[in-house]
Symmetry: C3
């Protein structure tokens, strides 16, 4: 069916990912990046993702498919992290990477090094909470916090393509949908700047979110599954319905990331709000063979022009390749299946596949 969708040749825009680890990893270090758990229970390769790495990545490192994990890691060490990374990223067929570099940046390649390793341009997604924490760390009076944040965001987003909020991780979407009043912000800033620590105050998170809205760039939000810092049900994108109403007139696109297992609800938001977009990244990476089903569910209600490709890969170049291959195979199976069963013509299918692979992102981010 690859002939129908042309999926092997599709050029991807990965509209949300992170960078990769630049140093050698031992088995434990590699395994820790195969799960969202703080520490894996049992063998981290015993998962759809583990199977997918052995299937998709082993041949790129000159090994047979399904090679045991130990053999894979030995070969990876033999090639060295730089060569393995180069090979794996090159096999993705990605034209551009939009990178959130606000998480554990010190452990990962810088953006220029990533671009070189990937052989593709990299653009930055600015993580709002990371900027707020930098502003706080530099020392600012509570009454000046809001202005300082705006100023710093202004500086950092000049060359960026999007902002991103991790409200889901730090609190949840059960907050009022409108921006907080300045006095509330100042009062909350007083507490936070005194107490220190990560930004978790719901008023300041909401304030940072609306600073993001004000930038006018597409605003990405982590939604759906992630690590156990979050309460998954409070990260359901459908809880953003009132926020979508509140931002409908601002001109700022709202981009729901990951969404799984709430991607059917996200697809509804993307249908009923003209400014809402979404992806099923992260899920595609983790669910392996099931990426086709997740894609099919996402497309039940989603306008074809609103769904984006992403890997949400973090740390391991393997995750980029697993996501890219999972997407291509899912497109083959789902869209090729439409064609095979007479649901859509071949031209439609190829056009829709190209939209999701990259065309929608090019249009949204002005690439």
């Amino acid at each position: 069916m690859a002939v129908v969708t042309g999926s092997d040749d599709l050029r991807l825009v990965d509209h949300h990912c992170h960078s990769v680890v630049g140093h050698e990893l031992d088995a434990a270090g590699f395994g820790a990046l195969l799960t969202e758990a703080p520490a894996p229970a049992g063998d981290p390769w015993d998962s759809m993702l583990g199977l997918a790495v052995r299937r998709e990545c082993a041949p790129v490192l000159d090994l047979p498919r399904h090679v045991p994990a130990a053999d894979y890691l030995a070969r990876r060490g033999e090639l060295g992290v730089a060569e393995a990374t180069r090979r794996l990223l090159a096999a993705c067929g990605t034209d551009a990477l939009l990178v959130d570099h606000g998480l554990r940046a010190g452990d990962l390649l810088g953006l220029d090094a990533l671009a070189e390793a990937a052989g593709a341009p990299v653009a930055e997604v600015v993580r709002l909470e990371a900027v707020a924490e930098d502003v706080a760390a530099w020392g600012v009076a509570p009454g000046d916090y809001a202005d300082a944040l705006v100023e710093e965001l202004d500086r950092r987003t000049r060359a960026a393509v999007a902002c991103k909020s991790i409200l889901a991780y730090r609190y949840g979407f059960d907050v009022p949908p409108h921006p907080p009043a300045p006095a509330e912000v100042a009062a909350a800033a007083r507490h936070w700047l005194h107490d220190g620590g990560r930004l978790r105050h719901p008023v300041l998170l909401r304030h940072a979110l609306w600073c993001g809205v004000d930038r006018g760039l597409p605003l990405q939000l982590h939604t759906g599954f992630g690590d156990p810092d979050e309460d998954l049900h409070r990260a359901n994108p459908v809880l953003l319905t009132a926020f979508c109403r509140a931002t409908a007139g601002t001109g700022t696109p709202v981009v729901l990331l990951h969404c799984y297992p709430y991607h059917r609800e996200a697809a509804w938001l993307a249908q009923v709000f003209p400014h809402v977009w979404f992806d099923v990244g992260l899920a595609s990476t983790y669910v392996g063979h099931r990426a086709a089903e997740v894609l099919a569910e996402a497309l039940e209600l989603a306008p074809f022009g609103k769904l984006l490709y992403s890997s949400d890969a973090f740390g391991l170049p393997e995750l980029y390749l697993v996501a890219a291959r999972a997407f291509r195979r899912a497109a083959d199976r789902v869209l090729g299946g439409w064609h095979a069963e007479g649901e859509a013509g071949g031209d439609d299918v190829r056009r829709i596949a190209a939209m999701i692979a990259g065309g929608n992102a090019r249009r949204l981010y002005g690439l």
Copy 2:
């Protein structure tokens, strides 16, 4: 597999739909009826529903499948709305239509005209909130509101087959499960009759709902996805569990409409409450090729005697046909699949298909 389920010959009862537009539509007007959005973002044909219209309806208007949208609309205009409507509705194979005519009735064919166009009898479903708003518009003292509503409902439901509540659109299911006290109703009526506008007061919505329960007719409730007036998560039918308990002894059947993406939860309600029924209409229309998966999910827990067919079509006769064809193909695939894999005998499969297509509705509504 159509031979197994006889799905091509199944006669349908469409237990929940609306009427069709009687005038010619331009491309924008047609496109606006292909989405639940207030205004489509991008090309409204770029969706499962758009593909399904091109696949299913084009041949009925003498065009090849998958014809471009512009060609489809040109041919539709050439035939004229009356002829196109007649052809599309006739191709549905529907024996009876139960119609909610309480939404934008002025834009649509009247019920007699619809029955003539469809070549099938039409029965009315009375929308409770529309009746309440009429009572309010005619002018009534707050203390007389409750009696006036009961009286008007009594009059309007005499020839009707069901009542319907849109509590999900106007507020959400997070309301107490019991009827409000008369004093509460009078106080709330005082506010509403003074302020005017749509009926959105949760006490009065709940009151109208229980007036519906008191009629004894099957009580339909919009649940699950719809337009962005609603908060989708507050329209989850599972939030009606306590209401189902409260109505279990009344003798009034409760009918959950659409339910998607919460149809698995609705199926549970239909299993554990003898008086609860449901459909996956609207979803079947919108999800195109995926109607089989949605039907299969709905049947995981649902007693076969509790699932109903509906199109929830509004405005476009195309939506009636897309729903009817999607249902027939889904029945083929799901029930025919049971047979092919030895899960059920041919007699069972044909009997179950006929129950869902129309038998259950005939029994529920006494048709």
Copy 3:
């Protein structure tokens, strides 16, 4: 594909089930055990479960597949309940049954009789609420309730393999995640011991739950769908996220039972919390032919070492067999499908199937 997964030969550990009725059942009595409804509406055989009984169990009683229900019941009566039970349980291929005998034990075979009928060892799962109700029934002063419960649990769990909570049925998971203070427990005990009735007080339910945590045995929790005593949405296992965080350091494994239709959320919990395990029992029994889809969804995020097999069968030996066969067929279809499409090698597939069938349970419960 059975050759690939070896599913016909897989030995099962049923880590959560109940006992079976030891007396003859008439058609109504049998039908009442085919549904979670207090009383079935319509023919209880008209469901996926009914079809599955006719398909899987009829041949074991020397009848053709898909035999009408009346014929099945007649033959069952002819053989007698003891012989029918023996045949059906023997056909399961189960190595061990972990039994919650705290629900309607008087209607069911005792554990020794069950073990004899099943030809397999039986171990007990202690239902916390049942113990609390026994303590209350024996008469205890409110101030002594907590100590008395601990003492009785200590006695009853000595030979048991797990504790179990039915908080979902008695209240819901919307309770604080930490144990209540002793003074709260004493005050709540005062109310309950005075008023009598089932244990429904949220403070005492939470207290009993934490008494279970303190035992150190795996702690099973009913989650997801069940009978209409529960509010399904308040039984969503994802609401236990904070409880999972609170128990992460205790050394007590948390085992989420059933989970459907929230099994994707449960799988996330099992991935991100090293001490969390789950099953899709009950669902597998009820959904018949769709067990493969439910299993596939559960495995999207679940580490393969965290998913358990169970039947959650109650009353009818037919339910044990339906669950066992549904699991074997689902394993064939899902894992065999991975192999057929190159997602995993044959050795992997056989190893993973054996883990889920019984290996994971053996490890978790120390069998």
